[in-house]
């Protein structure tokens, strides 16, 4: 399986995302924001960072990039797309996901290991999790507070489209503790925390067993690969 990672001006986590894809067992394909070509990939990751310096709004200018035409078409045709952090912001700005993200309520950039509960294990990126699994992966952002209208929130909750919720306290003021959502089809997922930073023992969050041994993030990537193998 070939999974593309799009690099935008100001992307930071594109290489970590590519590494996570390789560790999960797929080929990582580097894609460029200025192209109109997805190079035949089977899935896409929009990585974290500060594309265009977060000018205008986080993810807003990147969502208008040339390659986003192809990304939006592919997503609408069912290609699995995972947006992490800045990538999540791009997906909301591109209207592929509902809601929007504003500054953290305490006004601080947050960088820490964060507990999450995976509430939707039917999306293309979460099928490898048991329902309501609790995981720990890094959270690092300044504008991670998820906002949506009451009506949208009701739809997200009612249709089970909350992929991940913060546990152990709400870090940023996100409505309903929302850390990640999916679209109705379940192929597009946006996450504020960073699964790609928790994929290899020695470099992940601390666990009860050993320092830096947490690899809870890997399951997002192995899920989408497993889904492709069964030809869903």
């Amino acid at each position: 399986m070939r999974i593309g990672v799009v690099t935008f001006p100001g992307s930071l986590d594109d290489r970590d995302a590519a590494r996570a894809i390789r560790l999960a067992g797929a080929d990582a394909v580097a894609l460029w924001h200025g192209d109109h070509d997805l190079h035949g990939v089977d899935a896409l990751v929009l990585p974290g960072g500060f594309s265009y310096g977060d000018y205008l709004r986080a993810g807003a200018i990147a969502s208008l990039s040339p390659i986003m035409t192809e990304v939006i078409d592919a997503a609408n045709q069912g290609m699995p797309v995972l947006g992490i952090c800045n990538g999540f912001q791009m997906l909301t700005e591109a209207h592929l996901l509902d809601g929007g993200l504003i500054r953290n309520d305490k006004g601080r950039f947050i960088c820490r290991d964060q507990g999450l509960r995976i509430e939707n294990n039917a999306s293309d990126w979460t099928t490898g999790f048991e329902a309501n699994t609790e995981i720990v992966i890094p959270l690092k952002n300044g504008e991670g507070s998820f906002m949506a209208s009451a009506e949208t929130l009701k739809a997200l909750e009612g249709e089970g489209r909350i992929v991940a919720r913060y546990i152990g306290g709400n870090p940023n003021g996100s409505l309903n503790d929302i850390a990640g959502v999916t679209n109705a089809r379940g192929n597009v997922v946006g996450l504020m925390p960073h699964p790609e930073h928790a994929v290899e023992a020695g470099f992940g969050p601390d666990t009860d067993d050993a320092m830096a041994s947490g690899i809870d993030g890997l399951t997002f990537f192995t899920s989408v690969i497993a889904r492709a193998l069964v030809g869903a």
Binding site: L56, R57, A60, L64, T92, E93, I102, D105, G107, S149
Partner: protein, 94 residues
């Protein structure tokens, strides 16, 4: 050169952490500057000044209105609170 001004604010019902941080600083200044003591809140928004060639006619204004709603603001978290035309880009008040 005609300039179309677009003003965008965070939605009134959403927390504006940036405004809150500024309000906090003004509150601290208010302890020593009594004139600031009655400041009750601050909200921080954005002002875009779009310079154009020729007239700011109805078609141009309609196009800018569309731009304001779709690109310059995100209706999930922000409102366009004003669009008006002035003769030139703003300069410092003398």
């Amino acid at each position: 050169m005609p300039t179309i001004v677009v003003e965008v604010m965070p939605k009134a019902e959403l927390l504006d952490p940036q405004g809150k941080a500024v309000a906090g600083a003004l509150g601290r200044l208010g302890q020593t500057q009594p004139a600031l003591a009655n400041v009750t809140g601050v909200r921080v928004g954005k002002r875009f000044e779009i310079s154009i060639d020729g007239e700011a006619d109805a078609a141009t204004l309609a196009a800018v209105r569309e731009l304001a709603d779709t690109v310059l603001s995100n209706s999930v978290i922000e409102d366009v609170v004003g669009i008006h035309v002035q003769d030139a880009p703003s300069a410092a008040v003398a």
